[in-house]
Amino acid sequence: MYVVVSVAILVTMVLALVRALKGPTVYDRVLAVNVFGTKTVLLLAVIAFLYGRPDFLDLALAYALINMVGILAVLEFFQNRSQRTPKGEDD
């Protein structure tokens, strides 16, 4: 049964990768990478139960923290870049 869940999560990760590759705007790509990271956390937690090794839950927790910080950093970068005026680029 855990195999069914992991296959569903893996299919969703592949779909998110397709969206990240063909996304028209940069925000589509960031959204797809965010979905990919969240699904990685879910997949790690499912794998911990699939193989009966609870150590993987610590990896899932650490990955959730890193993913959140990474997404917010990328968003700050793009938001500041879009608001920056063309002539004063070295604010």
Binding site: V11, A16, T25, Y27, V35, K39, F49, M68
Partner: protein
């Protein structure tokens, strides 16, 4: 008896969660523009996370794994909508219009159907 009930309930929750994951993934690929895609993706962030993690908590019982699962679920539920809000806010501030008609993926080729 109560074991069988908890087992069946947890499998139902986990299968519903995987259905939510699949629906969100397909919606994130197939929906026409950015603000509809962010809606589908945020469905998988909250609903699928709650269903799958509560199902696995019912499988684990009163152990340390349940505590870790609860911590991960709480963290994902706090950060997922925050990241989605920041993403939508950044897109709106950068001038991406929330227009329901525009199909930003395929500009011209889907009109003959």
């Amino acid at each position: 008896m109560i074991d069988i009930v908890l087992d069946v309930l947890s499998w139902i929750l986990i299968l519903l969660g995987s259905a939510c994951v699949l629906i969100g993934g397909i919606g994130g690929l197939r929906l026409p523009n950015f603000y509809t895609r962010i809606h589908a993706a945020s469905l998988t962030d909250t609903m699928a996370t709650i269903l799958i993690f509560v199902g696995m908590m019912l499988q684990a019982g009163f152990t340390l794994a349940t505590l870790k699962l609860f911590a991960i679920m709480l963290f994902l539920l706090l950060t997922g909508p925050t990241a989605t809000y920041a993403l939508a806010n950044a897109a709106l501030l950068s001038g991406l219009k929330p227009d329901a008609v525009t199909d930003s993926d395929k500009p011209k080729e889907n009109t003959p159907e």
